[in-house]
Point group: D2
Chain length 88, copies 4
């Protein structure tokens, strides 16, 4: 992972972590479960955005390098696998 | 949220939190971004399982109560909304 | 399924069917694959909306009836299963 | 889209189309809505598999070409966008 992506991802992890602690607090304070579930959805969406950021870095570095070296089978296979797993 | 669901959800939050810290470590150690992304998927799936647990508690308590009291519009509307948001 | 939901779902199926035929035409005309993929996403979203409509009918009829008859285990179990499968 | 991918995608579209007609029949025959919803999930999964097939062809042709020509901004941007839209 390049330095810029890494810094961005670590910042996002802090945010996600804070959001999770907020959910824990809501559960401990016995807030309405539907509201807690909506916050859990929001955390998942924040994780998806972090994944998109990592994918962007991955394409511009690992994938671009691999294509330059004519070594595409593995990286393309991984991308299709990521795509399938992301929806599971 | 009933006590049994709350205890289960808090345990799952601990697990998810530990998993997230593992991702942070992978990022700091500059591990391969595709592997980090797969761990991020796994965290999302763990959150979905926690949501399913909350939904189960919600149905057996809030929804069942509301139906008993003939007061279904709000809870059914919320369930359809949750279903749509969960897929976003 | 109640008559109103059934009529709505059949109308949505017609729309989805027409959308799919549009995708087939795009593929036969060799349009850009990224554009075809975006249309495939749109079809999936239309199917999700149809599911939400069915869920709404299901809650107001089958689930409400089951709760009235104190027969909730099966319908609640199904709802949690639907929720999990919907995200797969 | 290359010829092999196109042939595969058209075959998948036929299958998806047949599956959709099966759902229409289930609705007309007033089958249990939970069973209809599960079939709708299955259609969405079949569409996702078709998307993965298109992505595979896209990577090996359009993306590989673009990287060879040093023209990556657009294709990488599209891939990240596809990834985000796929989860919506």
């Amino acid at each position: 992972m390049d330095a810029e992506t890494r810094a961005d991802v670590l910042k996002r992890l802090n945010y996600i972590d804070g959001h999770l602690q907020g959910i824990r607090k809501m559960v401990q304070e016995e807030q309405y479960c539907v509201d807690v579930m909506k916050q859990a959805f929001a955390v998942r969406r924040a994780i998806e955005k972090m994944e998109a950021k990592m994918l962007d870095g991955h394409l511009h570095h690992c994938v671009a390098d691999a294509v330059q070296h004519g070594d595409t089978e593995e990286v393309f296979g991984e991308l299709v696998e990521l795509y399938r797993l992301a929806n599971k």
